[in-house]
Symmetry: C2
Subunit: 333 residues, 2 copies
Amino acid sequence: MPDERRPRSVTRADVARYAGVSTAVVSYVLNDGPKPVAPLTRERVLDAVRVLGYRPNAVARALSKGSADMLGLLVNDNRNPFFAELCHALDQASAETGRSLLIVNSDRTQVTTSEQIRDLVSRQIGGLIIADVLTAREQALVEALGIPAVVIGPFGEIDGLQSIGVGFSAGAREATAHLVGHGYRDIAFVGSAARYDDRERGWRSALDEARLPLGTQLHVPFSYQGGHDAGMQLADAERRPRAVFAASDQIAIGLLAAFGRRGIRVPDEIAIASFDGTLTADFVWPRLTTSVQPLDEMAVAAVRAVTDPGPERRHRELSTTLRVRESCGCTPG
Amino acid sequence: MPDERRPRSVTRADVARYAGVSTAVVSYVLNDGPKPVAPLTRERVLDAVRVLGYRPNAVARALSKGSADMLGLLVNDNRNPFFAELCHALDQASAETGRSLLIVNSDRTQVTTSEQIRDLVSRQIGGLIIADVLTAREQALVEALGIPAVVIGPFGEIDGLQSIGVGFSAGAREATAHLVGHGYRDIAFVGSAARYDDRERGWRSALDEARLPLGTQLHVPFSYQGGHDAGMQLADAERRPRAVFAASDQIAIGLLAAFGRRGIRVPDEIAIASFDGTLTADFVWPRLTTSVQPLDEMAVAAVRAVTDPGPERRHRELSTTLRVRESCGCTPG
């Protein structure tokens, strides 16, 4: 846009003078409150804003408020329902501290994650929340920029950064043990191939505790398609497992689709338990029995970590809760 | 954060001097390119950034680039899979023009939408994309702020703002006509109660054209729960319809869950067609026959509208495409 349309020197006082109102009234109109403004006065103020090309300045506002009022969120792919719900919970938690949340996706091919981080930090944000797996180099950059930062969801502590995790292993073990409790002896695992995925470890230890042999292990992308492909493979196998623990709801929903396509009844012929506790897991049929991550609690902890960082608590681990529904073979009310 | 940790006067040149490198090398490290930097040099630069408290300044960068390099996106609720996919497509489309995208949710209770808009605009963004229904007052504010803006998904033109819509009525008519083509005579509608929802009009005109009586009309929230509740109502009705047109994939997935719970087979006992074409619609069973919104095309058009706004084209309407799968009774490959 040409600069003459919004000269940088126009102030709120200029707008007030042009509109013939006080600067407070200009604020009420632009903030939609806290006091009401008569419709005609509002019109006059908006006209003045337009004519003068007034644009409030973030830096000036941040300074006048005495603190940065925005948090940044870096998320890998917000289409994943789990991350979409996490974004939303973080937005709410930010709002509760009077802050806004700027969200950027980090799965772009055109821009490096480092560039995205630098861009966010340069926008005068007061803290950075990272829902993504960073490289060591990216971690070093975040640390160097000196902004309060927290990583959500890693499988343990991260050098130099605060982090908030959940008990992946314990949650997976609980879900798998629930399948064992149904009497299923042959329980497969479908999840990612990441070496550090504690959910596979949890599945394994539940089977060990029950002295059951390890079932099939399939490693696929964390997506509907990944789950669907694994489901077709299990459906067409010579010896089909009696139950599956899926490392995410997305994978479990893909499994359901594959079993549906092959006419295999869940849970009568194959039972499923999964991990995440997303909204969608409650609106497939049968509904998923799943280890629920405490999204709201994670969000509040993450916002607190960057707005009120304490030196003593670097990593915080929250617990999952098993939500029992129909996919495992239960018949909840 | 205390101000002494990041004095505002530190420049890239200071960092370069402290680290004993050129300012170009500082840029390479902070931007992760375009040229590689030796690990030890990188360490030195990051140390200098940390010690000096250097923070690149967005305003300075925007000025040096000669144009605003960020777009803002206001979206009502990114948990809705359709909006999550739209966000992602907009992020990609922005990246293709070398811009970043700042996303804010507008369904907060603590902050007004006007405040969110003002906040985004004050962050030096170069354009504003709105995936939400604005009040007249919010529209006036956007107009007054003088920033290039576009609204996505309204059901027609909007005074004073650019907009990008899709053929809601034509898409709904096509999906309903497809159900008619299967020979179903009693076709219900499940959608929102919004007076301006052209999808209901499209359903109606398909039935009119086929000289079929209007079926049941249920108005529910655009959510899984809304679809589920409508599905239970249809399942338990004295006279169950033979088919349903759902105004969104989310509603259709809720219907599927309700019919599954009641043991009603889709499509054998009740067929479904819907609207949106989200990823999830492809990973339920049976897969949804759905009128697909051209998300990528909408995203590219929206980004173009705010980065290269033309005076002549205020409203642009794109077409849906019917994707035929199993929920209607077809057996695609």
